[in-house]
């Protein structure tokens, strides 16, 4: 099935998934984040440089929902960091292909960071390369790769992109 044959309900569900994800990772309730993924998911945050040159290293590379939960624990309990707000602006997804219940999608994103008593700044800019699957609980990410253009991480990235 080609992308243009996606029915209206599925398109609505897909755009809702993208909007919900952005809302969740900006909410500060980090426990919401792993629930967007399947149990054996892939989540990667990778510099565009590594992606395009075929280097496998990612800034973060998780291969199970359990690892995402461990990251949430890290954010909440073990990683000392300056608190900040983040705000995702995510473009409409491009559906590249539909194969049964698996959708290959992409979307541009920009994340702004606001530290306490500071100005808002552009934090991380890139695109999501996703595999979305249909599950009994609705669409989930089987894979979400965040490939970022931003050449320098402004000191650190703590919260999920």
């Amino acid at each position: 099935m080609s992308a243009s044959n996606l029915n209206f309900e599925d398109w609505m569900a897909l755009t809702q998934l993208y909007a919900d994800y952005a809302s969740a990772v900006d909410s500060g309730d980090w426990d919401l984040w792993p629930e967007f993924f399947t149990d054996d998911c892939v989540y990667r945050l990778q510099p565009r440089e590594n992606h395009e040159r075929g280097f496998p290293l990612a800034t973060l590379s998780f291969t199970s929902k359990g690892m995402l939960k461990d990251r949430v624990y890290g954010i909440k309990e073990t990683l000392f960091h300056d608190p900040y707000y983040q705000r995702h602006v995510v473009g409409a997804p491009i559906v590249r292909s539909v194969d049964g219940g698996r959708l290959r999608c992409e979307a541009n994103y920009a994340v702004f960071r606001t530290k306490l008593s500071e100005l808002s700044t552009v934090f991380n800019v890139g695109r999501y390369l996703d595999t979305v699957v249909r599950t009994p609980a609705g669409f989930k990410f089987a894979s979400r790769e965040c490939v970022y253009d931003s050449e320098m991480i402004p000191n650190s990235i703590i919260y999920p992109i």
Partner: protein, 414 residues
């Protein structure tokens, strides 16, 4: 010198905030540490495997190019055209037969020799030669600035100072031993890069990896899983001039121990949902230690933390900021499982790492305070006031050692 620092106790156990906040001192650091008398890291040979391959990087604040020439040799040249001074190389990596500055098409060999100057002989018009370079212009006098290059174990160092001592003497026997342990002649494979900009003085990153006091306190992961704890078997080693150091640690059994359960960041009940983050497999070349963190002054940190190995390049930019570039690598004889293991353990390190992200944070917040009261000083008195190798890590002796060397060089009359 105009920027006079007051060193309480006349040792190096109380470090003036002003050492991190003065532009004048920073300019002198660039001259005396990055541009003279020292070897600086530029990269790994595996980044430029084929003739013509190049990588653009920096030493101090100067842009340089590491390039492999047709003979297979590695050259490092400064990215400044001999003509009008332009930083002509804009790509960060690639493959070239020659370097050409786009401004006036001056061209250079991969060894940095000037080979072509357009209209050098002028133009002929009506039987006359017009313009051109003077008759006494010699291309041999106008090459790119060539740096002295040393390679060892696949690692490339360079120096603007052609009188610099040999790399092996610069490192000294103790540090050379730990260098050779990691880079023992096997070919390296590049796994990729992480780049972060840390708004703090560059020395704070050297100090962070000369400070074995914090990992078992700040880094909850390290404490809880026994990767780095105050009660681990450990040694601290320096070269004779105390500028370089190695922190050597052997992983404990983890779990409860009287000394660590007093540490508030120790989380006895912390359990991973996915234990593969800590799928550690000992490698023969370790010869015991599970972590060796080596600081090569002034420009690079060599990381072995269990199966994760990387170089961390310090690229200063003004007194209050530096770029920190991580190059993770593996070895040619790694199995696919080992490569995946190194990549998985890389989650602990880098600008988002479970362990390393907070190092950048504490450096930023230290710098903030230094800027607000440069007359004040830090304390580095754990383990006393002296500078010495130790068989434990409850000491800040390596920081004191680095500042003893810093004072020698920075206070010397020139």
């Amino acid at each position: 010198m105009d920027a006079v620092l007051h060193w309480e106790g006349n040792g190096t156990h109380r470090i003036p905030f002003g050492a991190y906040t003065s532009d004048e001192l920073y300019r002198r650091e660039l001259d005396r540490f990055f541009y003279q008398g020292h070897w600086c890291y530029v990269g790994l040979e595996a980044e430029v495997p084929k003739p013509g391959d190049y990588k653009r990087t920096v030493i101090g604040e100067r842009s340089v190019i590491m390039v492999r020439d047709a003979d297979g040799g590695i050259n490092v040249v400064e990215n400044v055209c001999a003509h009008r001074g332009m930083r002509f190389c804009r790509e960060r990596h690639g493959n070239r037969k020659e370097f050409v500055c786009p401004y006036h098409q001056w061209s250079y060999t991969l060894k940095g020799d000037l080979q072509g100057v357009p209209f050098r002989r002028g133009v002929k018009q009506d039987g006359q030669v017009l313009g051109g370079m003077p008759a006494d212009f010699k291309t041999s006098e106008h090459g790119l600035t060539k740096l002295k290059v040393a390679t060892r174990g696949g690692v490339v160092f360079a120096s603007f100072d052609h009188e610099v001592e040999p790399l092996e003497e610069f490192l000294g026997p103790a540090i050379l031993g730990y260098f050779d342990r990691l880079f023992n002649g096997r070919k390296l494979t590049i796994l990729g890069y992480n780049r972060q900009r840390i708004p703090g003085n560059w020395k704070l990153m050297q100090e962070n990896i000369k400070d074995p006091y914090h990992p078992g306190l700040l880094h909850t992961w390290f404490v809880t899983f026994g990767l780095w704890r105050a009660d681990n078997k450990s040694q601290l080693r320096m070269d004779d001039r105390h500028r370089h150091a190695a922190m050597i640690s052997t992983r404990g059994t983890g779990g409860r121990a009287e000394q660590v359960t007093q540490v508030s960041s120790f989380k006895e009940t912390m359990q991973l949902h996915d234990a593969s983050f800590l799928d550690i497999v000992p490698e023969p070349w370790w010869n015991g230690p599970t972590a060796v963190m080596t600081t090569i002054f002034p420009s690079v940190i060599l990381q072995q933390q269990v199966n994760s190995v990387s170089t961390r390049h310090i690229q200063p930019d003004g007194h209050g900021s530096f770029d920190f570039v991580w190059t993770h690598f593996g070895f040619e004889d790694d199995s696919e499982e080992m490569t995946q293991r190194r990549l998985r353990q890389a989650n602990l390190f880098g600008p988002a790492g479970f362990v390393s992200a907070d190092d950048g944070e504490v450096i930023e917040f230290s710098q903030q305070a230094f800027e607000s009261k440069p007359f004040h000083r830090t304390l580095a008195e754990l383990g006393g006031h002296e500078v010495e190798d130790t068989e434990h890590m409850v000491t800040e002796t390596l920081i004191r050692g680095m500042y003893r060397y810093w004072r020698e060089v920075m206070e010397a009359e020139r």
